[in-house]
Symmetry: C2
């Protein structure tokens, strides 16, 4: 038994971790910015005062960016004490030079602070070398003893409309406690992926090093992987877990729960911040032949342009939902299928045409900021829920104007 308490702010609650961000001029003030416009940092760090265990889940994109390839050069089970992060440039498709650039940066940084297997994480435009001179300016400007989680969370934002940071204090029944905190960025609507999703989780729980990777993968599968298009992932997506063991406390069940909850809540924040999105919709598919088919149909729904635009248009017609399920290739039968918006039945074999009264109710449900679409295929017991949002004019605007 254990209790999770949400704490204000983020990384600063976890003993032994430090973070800061500065602006070295890669991120510049918009021409139309107000006089009191506060420019966020563009280079940041998260460090541990002792080498800590690290696990990471990376994009499945075959063109992994340089920082991801740099990370994977370290031996399995390595410890680190420093994560360097930059915005505005993804250091992706930069070849071997991109990796050498990271080595050069860490060589310079090592003259300021002692480094153990430092790792890097980048987000921004694909296809350009890092500006080493600019980034190096940060090494003099950083306050290495600071714990500015808010500033760091803002530094990693790109098209995000709000910063994303969370912290839980987890109290076990015996009175012992540990912390888990995370900052995250990502506002790609359909594929947080392609717009790069970065998430850094730190904890003072004494997590067994050899269990971290599996737990982190499980957490990703329950959270960020439920809001992304399968196979349509950016070159830079990264979820990292840093554990320094400072609390001396560990409870497998409590930690797993805290990790899954913090990643799930951040995933929902990414959706809420979805580019141009106005609604968060859970697509629950049940009664599928098996879980895999349920996942396939559920993801087809959350990725369908026609479903997304219908959500934006608040059209209660279930036709696009049924058609998307039929097109997804899973086993289904229109006489067994039922579709619900929240608890309202809007399609079944006995009840195919939507009457005015029910359409009115469906319309009210769709007006909400969040609701659930449940499709029961009636074929078996497989189930899966993915999460999506609507597609608006704003999405097109952002993605036509923003250079990934």
């Amino acid at each position: 038994m254990f209790t999770l308490f949400s704490l204000k702010n983020g990384l600063e609650n976890v003993p032994g971790f430090f973070c800061d961000a500065v602006n070295v001029g890669m991120r510049t003030k918009p021409a139309d910015a107000a006089d009191d416009f506060q420019l966020s940092g563009d280079v940041a760090f998260i460090r541990s005062d002792t080498p800590c265990n690290i696990a990471a889940v990376f994009t499945k994109n075959r063109f992994q960016a340089a920082p991801l390839r740099h990370f994977q050069r370290y031996p399995k089970g390595f410890q680190t004490n420093f994560v360097l992060i930059n915005a505005k440039n993804a250091n992706a498709m930069t070849g071997e030079k991109g990796i050498e650039d990271i080595d050069t940066l860490f060589e310079r940084l090592s003259q300021k602070i002692s480094l153990t297997n430092p790792v890097m994480s980048s987000t921004g435009v694909i296809g350009y070398r890092l500006d080493l001179e600019k980034i190096s300016l940060a090494f003099d400007a950083f306050d290495y003893g600071a714990n500015k989680s808010d500033k760091t969370a803002r530094a990693i934002m790109t098209t995000d409309k709000f910063k994303k940071e969370l912290c839980f204090r987890v109290e076990l029944n015996n009175g012992e406690a540990f912390h888990i905190a995370a900052i995250c960025k990502g506002a790609g609507m359909i594929n947080p992926a392609m717009a790069t999703m970065l998430c850094f989780v730190v904890t003072d729980a004494t997590v067994p090093a050899d269990e971290m990777q599996e737990m982190l993968q499980d957490a990703a599968d329950q959270s960020f992987n439920r809001i992304s298009v399968d196979g349509d992932t950016s070159t830079n997506d990264t979820l990292m877990l840093l554990s320094n063991g400072k609390s001396g406390v560990y409870d497998a069940e409590a930690f797993r729960e805290a990790l899954e909850r913090i990643t799930f809540e951040l995933a929902m924040l990414i959706l809420k911040d979805g580019e141009g999105a106005s609604k968060l919709v859970a697509f629950e598919v049940k009664g599928a032949l098996n879980d895999e088919e349920a996942m396939h149909a559920s993801r087809a729904l959350s990725n369908s342009l026609l479903v997304k635009t219908a959500l934006f248009g608040e059209d209660p017609n279930w036709g696009r939902i049924a058609s998307t399920i039929g097109a997804s290739g899973v086993a289904c039968d229109d006489s067994l299928l039922t579709i619900r918006y929240d608890d309202l039945l809007i399609y079944s074999n006995e009840f195919r045409e939507l009457d005015k009264a029910r359409e009115e109710k469906a319309y009210k449900i769709m007006k909400q900021e969040g609701f659930r679409v449940t499709c029961d295929l009636g074929m078996g017991s497989g189930s899966y829920t993915s999460y999506g949002c609507d597609l608006s004019y704003e999405y097109v605007k952002i993605n036509a104007e923003y250079r990934t």
Copy 2:
């Protein structure tokens, strides 16, 4: 040897076929229509004065609409003399009742004209029963001896901005000739599919009945299937070929060429009419491990929201193209990859960063109404080209407001 001549107009050039369309009130005048607004028909027919051979390629959607299921009740190799078509209602997800409704319509129609295995084709909203009384009104109003291809082509339009009809006269070297003509509808941008693609091809060539199906499937694979999302197809998509043999002429090579060309040109017209689209882009992938991988990567490009919005934004950066290929899961290596816009190299291992001069040239290419993106993966000899268009504000508007 043979020569193809494009003829003006469409179906009226092919002896033995007749068509007409009327408006029975399912399609209504928009509130803001001008005084001289001409309302298109909503019920149409194409008939042959003798029973003719028919082949059809239907959607792979598991929830095939009632008219498709009705068609497939006929024995293999059946002949028909009548295709009844309606807009505004897809007769999809209507269960057995939807099929019975078609039987009822043909029972009524048989009192006006002699029918041999009549078939139906529908497009419009999913989930509503046909209005049999309204549709039956057409049976009195039709001119069964008319050949109004233009009117028929307009009657099947939904969000299409222009009607689509083509006709070729194919002259063989020995002076013999046959005709092939088609009308088509569809303006779904990414999945012509989901917005229903209908295409009716008629010919007086003496096509061997047992070769029609395979030739039609091949033509679909070279045309409509190159502009649609794999697996994301509507409940009603239909491509039909009707052959009455009136010319007494047949040449396998000439007919195949004519059929492939007419379907390809119509597919390109659908793309040009893409909802909100302003550019037609060919995505050629070559040097893939095999043709299947090339197809997979090519379709990933033509379906990527981020590539499409970048095309709309006329952003010459190749990052989203590379990232989409990497994410598609095909074998690739960033040091072997090259990317070209038309003939302009914009990415290769030796040439990763886009300089100003080349960016300027790329920008000019992207300004065109049509251009080619060629990605050479450098892994093998597989190749495939699919065709797509950009994604604009207009697309969202159409799909948020139109009820499929």
